[in-house]
Structures are given as C-alpha cells and as structure tokens.
Amino acid sequence: MKTRHLAIAAGFIAAAATAIAPAQTTREGVAQLKGVKGNVLLSRQTGLAAGGEAARLTEHTRVITTANSEVVVVYDNGCEVRLKENQRFEVETDKPCAALIAQAQSVLVEPAGTALAASSVFFWVVLPAVGVSTVGANVLLGPGPSPQTLSLSPS
C-alpha cells in the first residue's frame, strides 16, 4: 500500500516536472517583448528574424524596429525600455535601468541642418524678349550672378 502511494506520488511529481519543463524553456532569457506594433526584428543565431509579442530575449539579442513600428522590452526585473520607429537596442543585463533606457538609439539620424546662404543670388532669371535672349536678359535685368546659382536666405 505504502509502495503504491509512493508510486502515485512519484507519478504526480513526474507529471508536474513534465508540465513545468516547457515553461522553464520558454522562460529562457532575461526580458521579453511587449506591445509589438509593426515590424520588430530580433537578432537570432542565423540573423534577423521577426519578433512577436512576448518573445523571450537572451542577453546580447538586438531588437530593431522599422518605420511605423514600436515595442517595449520588458526585463524580468521590471525595467522597461521603449523603442520607437527605426531604433535599435541590445539586451544587456549589467547596467541600471536608466542606462538601458538611454541605450535605445535611432539608427537613421537626419544630418544636422546646414545654414542657408545669407547672400541673395539669382536662381531664376526671367528672360524678357528683346532679340537674342541672353543679351536681352542682360539688357533688361542688368548684370547679376549666374542664373544657375542659388538664391537662399536664412530661415
């Protein structure tokens, strides 16, 4: 009888262990994706692949968003890193949450605005018609910068 109870108990333990094992496998990693919107890519062993809601992330996994996409990387310790479109983030564990949040970076950086030329120069020449057009332009508009040059003013 005692042996039977032991066998049943062992069976329960085995069943429980079987049930728990897959859950432990899916919990591999240190973070997961939340609020996936649009195209979110994860670096895998053979390169980038799509990452879905609740996908688990191991250390050094790179998370990449494309245009009109966003996602939150939720660490198991509660730290949340929000990625906007065209950003990338590498999952790391040895940094404080604030540093991780600051680590999400835009991949596509627009160049800094260049100053517009302050000088006023022609780009468009209206050719008034008096005989030969180029002479006519000079006659009627007077000397000026080349018609191919640019007229830009500071904004």
Partner: protein, 396 residues
C-alpha cells in the same frame, strides 16, 4: 495694263502680308508667343537696370504681360522699393499662378526674403508642372531640405505624393547630396509602395560607400515587404526562393551578357534542394569577366560559420570557383577574410562550410562567388555550379 497693275498689286499685297507675318512672328513675339518688349535705349550688355518707364508703358498697353510685371518687380526690388516689388510680384502671381516664369521668379523672390515655406510651395508647383525646370529647381529644393527649412512644407509635399519626389531623390542622391537627408522622403514613398529600385539603390549604396553600414542596412530593411521580414537572416534569401532585386543587401546576380562575362546566372527550379529553387551559374568555357553573384552584408564583428549546399557539374578548364567573404571599406573591397573550399569537377549535392572571423574594424562585408585566379589574370572556366541553402550562423 489693268492686268499688269492688278498683278503688281497682288505681289505688293503678298509682300506686305509676308512682312507682317515675319514682323508678328519674329519681331513682335517670341517663339513662345510672348510679346517682345521693345529694346531699351540702353543696349549695352552691362546696362545696370531696366527702364521702369518703358515697362510701365508696356503694361499700360497690356496689363496682363506677366513677364513685364516680373521685370518691373525685380527693378523695384533692386531699387529698394520693397512694397512696389511685392505688389508687382503679387500681381504677376494673381494673373498667372501657373506660369513657369511666375512660379520661378516669385519663388526666387520669396527665397531672397527668407520666406522659405512660400518658396517651397511655389517650387513644388513649378517642378510638378514643368519637368524641364527640375534641373534648375531641384538643387534649390535640395539645399532647403538639407537646411531643414520648413519641415511642415516637406511633410505636406510627401503627403500629397507629388510625382516629382522620386526623380528628386534619385537626382539629388546621384549629385552627391547627403543620402540621409533624403531618407524620410524615400520612406514615405516606400510606405506608399511608390519607391523605385533606383531610388532605394542609390541611397543605400551611397550610405554603404560612406561606411554608414547600419544606416544603409536599416533603410534597406524598411524597403522589404512585411512577409520578407519574417526571416531576413545574415544571408538574405540564402535559399534563392525569391527573385533577386539586386538592390541593397539582396543578391546581385550578374546581368552582363554571356559573351561579355563568360557566364550565366539563374535561380531555376531544381530537384534535391531545400525549397524549390537553387542558384545555378553556368560557365561557357570562355574567359571570365566579373563576379557572377554577390551580396553585401552588415555583420557585427565576431565569429561565424558559413554553410550551404553545392553541386559542381563538370567544372573544368580552370581552378574552379569558391565563396569568399571580404570586408568593404570606403567602397573598396578588401582581401578575403575567409573562403570556402574550391568547387571543381562533378559531385552530387553536398554540404560545405567554413568559419569566418569578422574583425572589429570591419562593419560591412561582401559575400561573393569568385572564379579562382580572377584577380591574378585571365581565367577560363567551363561547367555549372549549383548552390542552395546558404546560411551564416553566429558562433559564440
């Protein structure tokens, strides 16, 4: 006598009509149908200004003469009379808001004033309506874009899906404008599925050649269809199941004529492979020119293993072919980091693999199938090489 006089009269009348035709078509009006302004008293090339009185007389006769109005506006502007200049420009624009010269000259006026939003709106209409004006106006628009002048105006143009944006992106990119500045416009066209391969290719290639690999790769990722983002891989489309675009980080299959290159590259259906298709490179036994197949990559530094399936068929008359991975810096292909075995002779499908170590200073790479000895001189190659299921795997 009467008949002679009549004939003479007809001839004279004919001559008068002919003179009138010449006068109207050549002297009074130009080839565009615009009335010619009478020549000023000052006809020297360096004459400083236009006679405003003369322009007023022309406008008295024809108040709708927009070219005269534009010239008058410019003269007022030169004379420092801002109010009259503005009135004349406004009058010209009110009279002919779609006139080529009005759009160009008034846009130029706004640029001189620093009213960039108004200038951009007019330039938008100018290049939309007059494609021949693009060569002159695109560089101006490019400077405005680079200066981040009026982002709202640019957003409006992008939202309107203006047809000129594609040619603008391509021309500006080819003329050396910072491609990153063009990326937002390109992405708006990608979202509408209007971006042409040439636009995408130019921007990605220019970013890549500037060693801005991460940006180049990101732009390219954005151009992929959603269904293709499921499994991008380090080697994109390594099983050759999808047609190559030849753009960005996709396969680039040689499109040279066989008689020039000595080979033909195809991805036909094949038996005994992963999926349905495989890469087939047929060498015609003649001198080989160029690389048959290549793909740019943006691998992080580290160790990788490249593997794949190969089936050489009667590869003779040469030392065979091999896959190589090389760094690319400043657009220049560097010595090989690693290479596969040589594929010569014949065999059934077999798996091959080789390890690659990407150094820290190597941010972009080129995977290519190379006939051995191509860099050393003339190579003759015959036979066929099949490949499939190319995969690059990160080693930890």
């Amino acid at each position: 006598m009467n008949a002679t006089a009549l004939r003479a009269g007809v001839v004279i009348e004919g001559l008068l009509i002919a003179w009138r035709i010449v006068q109207v078509n050549v002297v009074l009006y130009d080839e565009n149908g615009q009335a010619r302004l009478p020549a000023t008293a000052s006809t020297g090339v360096n004459a400083p200004t236009l006679d405003r009185e003369l322009l007023h007389r022309v406008l008295d006769r024809n108040p709708g003469h927009v070219v005269a109005l534009l010239n008058l506006a410019r003269e007022h502007e030169r004379a420092g009379d801002a109010q009259k200049a503005r009135q004349a420009y406004d009058a010209a624009y009110a009279l002919a808001p779609l006139h080529r010269d009005v759009l160009g000259a008034v846009a130029d006026y706004y640029l001189r004033l620093g009213s960039n939003a108004e200038a951009i709106a007019l330039l938008d209409r100018l290049v939309d309506a007059y494609p021949d004006a693009r060569a002159l106006a695109f560089p101006v628009l490019g400077k405005l874009l680079l200066a981040h002048a009026q982002p709202a105006a640019w957003s409006a143009i992008a939202a309107r899906k203006a047809a000129w944006i594609g040619p603008f992106i391509e021309l500006s990119c080819r003329q050396g404008m910072d491609p990153a500045a063009l990326v937002p416009l390109l992405l708006s066209r990608v979202a509408d599925r209007r971006a042409a391969a040439d636009e995408i290719g130019c921007i990605v290639d220019h970013l890549r050649d500037a060693d801005r690999w991460a940006e180049a790769y990101q732009v390219w990722l954005n151009t992929l269809l959603r269904e293709r983002l499921g499994d991008v891989g380090f080697v994109y489309n390594g099983s050759f199941e999808f047609a190559s675009s030849g753009v960005g980080f996709d396969w680039r299959l040689s499109r040279a004529r066989e008689r020039d290159s000595g080979h033909v590259v195809e991805t036909p259906q094949a038996a005994g492979v992963t999926g349905q298709r495989a890469l087939r490179v047929s060498f015609n036994g003649k001198r080989q020119a160029g690389i048959p197949v290549m793909q740019y990559m943006a691998l992080e530094p580290g160790r990788y293993e490249m593997s794949g399936l190969a089936r050489p068929q009667s590869i003779t008359a040469g030392r065979g072919v091999q896959w190589t991975l090389r760094c690319v810096k400043h657009g220049q292909v560097q010595p090989a980091l690693a290479n596969s075995e040589r594929f010569v002779g014949s065999s059934e499908w077999r798996r091959f693999s080789f390890e690659v170590a990407v150094p820290n200073d190597c941010h972009g790479q080129l995977l290519q199938l190379e006939p051995l000895g191509l860099a050393d001189g003339t190579v003759y190659l015959a036979g066929t090489a099949w490949f499939d299921d190319l995969v690059l795997r990160r080693l930890r």
